[in-house]
């Protein structure tokens, strides 16, 4: 899956978790840029992503996410590892 495809699939998850329908993701976005991205919704987001992409985040990754771009890279890496690349 390309980074663009991952981002496309992330957008509706962000919209669901933060209860908005106008979220446009950019790689440099952080929790400060999206209203409601607090620690509570952060966990919801992580679990939604895990379930949608079939991946698992490590304890350190959950807290260490820097921005949306980093999240996309992380998902990409996990998907590649899964499919044996």
């Amino acid at each position: 899956m390309t980074q663009d495809a991952i981002e496309d699939r992330l957008t509706p998850l962000f919209c669901d978790v933060f209860d908005r329908d106008d979220i446009v993701l950019r790689p440099e976005m952080t929790a400060k840029d999206i209203e409601g991205w607090d620690s509570f919704n952060h966990i919801n987001l992580i679990v939604a992503i895990e379930s949608s992409f079939g991946v698992k985040f490590q304890t350190s990754e959950i807290e260490g996410l820097r921005n949306v771009g980093h999240l996309v890279e992380l998902i990409e890496r996990k998907l590649n590892a899964k499919s044996g690349y």
Binding site: D19, S39, N44, V47, K56, F57, I62, E63
Partner: protein, 625 residues
């Protein structure tokens, strides 16, 4: 089977569209749509979305929900549970209940329980849900399972001391890895073993103390602990239960609250062909159906029949609803050697060619129970959808293709959630069958008084006592139709009246020539505040099984006699209308009371002057237990 996906609920392909539409409705219309939205397979994101919509209109929705369908739940936990609350509200909504939730701030549950004027008690919860994580309960190397149980009992004690709420205790998740292995049980000091012993002791303590369990430990074993509890989320957010589990968790709490409010199913209605056996009996003949040992599919159907029978043994009524010629439909019950279910186990047998919605209405009527007490099991998706559409009150579990999974699917859905098995429950199937015999005799007779006289009825009355309390509690919280005030009380509240000399309490049993009907009526009368000459009937309810048998007139004679002997001159009755108790609208008028205005809660108040009362004639022998 993946219980986390709520497989007993139907998929709804246009759910998002429906939710969007519902969001444009005003609160009144929204109220009608919400339950349908909740009764679909929902993941945790959709559950939260639905809850947000409910909360947006909370004030209006709460107002338009009758008191009997509202409930206040306090949640007190040692770990993070905020993510479970929306699903709890949705799980209750699925049982047609509106729940207001108070969540004690993180880490403060003990203080909240110990402080009489805490926010928790000020909230006046009907129910308190206690959730303690295993790290909290089994900390340090010296605290034993018994210490932990004593700690929990102290919490229950505090809650009961400062509030009238029913306590629900979550069991403890077995999250600790073992240190010894398969035989961890020989090492009581290990944390894994302490949790196991803790859950064992907890079950006994809860029964002794009248506390209900939310058995998360067993459910986590069913779903797989790894999907219930995620160590990464525990370390990041102190969640012992993953948000992914919340739809199931909320449903588990919802079914407990539903059972407390009398919303559990009472009757399992079964289709026949490809539900109880393989094949079509009308085509294949009774000897040609797939059922019985020696054939994998035939054994799977036996497994399902065994489960239905186990439900019947503990008081669930079984009925048949099948599109068949009746003679063909009955043949396997009468002749097939491998049938587990026999005609004796079935309270109501309907086989004809009419549509199933019509037949389910008929079954509810014959058994004298509400449509919402029916759970309908049918392998055919067409029939299931038809019933869901025509009779939204009937619960219709989605059955998987494989009959080997029917039983676990229906059990998983928690349609028959209960707290006790009373002697009356065990005898129930027989009672409903006896009643069918009475109905048959009654239909054959043209002389009603002669019929009633020949029944040799005996009404046995007693005041509330410890032995009767479980069944009294059950009746007070389950009866909807023949119930004048639909006031719900928990066991503790009812127990208080056993010790209060001023209150007249009655538990009534009816026996006759055809069998024992068990406890069929409960009446509570209390002195009317500020009017020393009047006593008021707080609660009067009766099982619909004994309608038209003169029980109410015999009971009134008794009540009047006792009220008079205590010097009262007026008996006051109240009728509070609900969606379901239309049948008792004129109860007091029929008994000779006169209308006397309105009660504060919108009911009608009636009065009966006691001095001139002439006892009603009836054919019942009345005696004290």
């Amino acid at each position: 089977m993946d219980f986390l996906k709520l497989p007993w609920l139907p998929e709804c392909s246009d759910w998002v569209e429906k939710l969007r539409k519902a969001a444009t409705l005003d609160a009144e219309e929204l109220g009608g749509e919400l339950r349908g939205l909740a009764t679909a397979r929902l993941d945790f994101l959709r559950t939260s979305k639905l809850d947000r919509l409910m909360q947006r209109e909370a004030d209006a929705l709460r107002l338009q929900t009758p008191a009997a369908k509202r409930l206040r739940l306090a949640v007190a936990a040692s770990c993070t549970v905020t993510h479970l609350i929306p699903a709890i509200r949705v799980g209750a909504l699925r049982r047609d209940l509106w729940v207001d939730v108070y969540e004690a701030p993180y880490g403060t549950y003990r203080q909240a329980l110990m402080t009489p004027d805490s926010e928790l008690y000020a909230f006046q919860p009907d129910v308190l849900l206690l959730i303690q994580d295993p790290w909290h309960l089994v900390s340090g190397s010296r605290s034993t399972a018994d210490d932990a149980i004593s700690g929990l009992r102290a919490c229950w004690q505090l809650a009961k001391q400062h509030s009238r709420c029913t306590v629900i205790q979550q069991t403890v998740l077995p999250v600790f890895p073992d240190t010894l292995g398969n035989n961890e049980c020989v090492y009581p000091e290990s944390r894994a073993e302490r949790v196991r012993r803790l859950n064992e002791g907890l079950a006994k303590a809860a029964v002794d103390d009248g506390v209900l369990l939310l058995d998360a430990a067993t459910w986590a074993a069913r779903t797989g602990l790894h999907s219930w509890y995620d160590p990464a989320l525990w370390h990041s957010a102190k969640q012992e239960t993953s948000p992914q589990v919340s739809p199931l968790y909320g449903d588990l709490v919802g079914r407990l609250l539903g059972a407390l409010r009398g919303r559990s199913g009472k009757c399992l209605v079964l289709d026949l062909d490809n539900t109880l056996w393989g094949g079509v009996v009308g085509d294949d003949g009774w000897s040609g159906i797939t059922l019985g040992q020696g054939n994998a599919l035939g054994e799977a159907y036996i497994g399902f029949q065994e489960y239905a029978l186990a439900l019947a043994r503990r008081g669930i009524i079984l009925a048949i609803c099948s599109k068949n010629d009746e003679k063909n439909a009955r043949a396997p019950f009468e002749r097939h050697p491998d049938m587990m279910l026999r005609l004796d186990d079935i309270a109501c047998f309907v086989a004809n060619w009419e549509d199933k919605a019509t037949n389910l209405r008929r079954i509810a009527k014959m058994l004298n129970i509400g449509l919402d007490a029916l759970v309908f099991a049918d392998d055919n998706p067409f029939e299931r959808n038809l019933v869901r559409q025509e009779l939204p009150a009937v619960a219709v579990p989605e059955l998987p293709e494989d009959p080997a999974l029917y039983a676990s699917t229906i059990a998983g859905g928690g349609y028959f959630e209960g707290f006790t098995v009373t002697a009356d429950d065990v005898a129930r199937v027989g009672q409903y069958r006896d009643n069918a015999a009475r109905v048959a005799e009654l239909e054959a007779t043209t002389d009603l008084p002669a019929y009633l006289r020949n029944l040799d009825m005996e009404l046995i009355w007693g005041t509330f006592d410890e032995a009767g309390l479980p069944r009294i509690t059950q009746l007070v919280n389950k009866s909807n139709q023949y119930n004048l005030t639909t006031r719900r009380y928990n066991e503790a509240e009812l127990r208080e009246w056993t010790q209060n000399e001023e209150v007249l309490t009655y538990q009534l049993r009816l026996r006759d020539r055809l069998g024992d009907n068990g406890m069929i009526s409960v009446i509570i009368a209390r002195p009317k505040a500020g009017e020393p000459d009047a006593i008021e009937i707080d609660t009067w309810l009766m099982s619909c099984r004994v309608l038209g048998r003169q029980v109410e007139t015999a009971a009134l004679n008794l009540l009047v006699e006792h009220a008079r002997s205590r010097g009262y001159t007026r008996l006051v009755g109240i009728f509070i209308p609900t969606e379901k108790n239309e049948m008792v609208r004129n109860h007091y008028l029929k008994l000779g009371f006169e209308l006397h205005g309105k009660s504060p809660e919108g009911g009608a108040v009636y009065e009966l002057p006691l001095p001139g009362y002439t006892p009603f004639d009836h054919f019942i022998t009345v005696r004290e237990a």
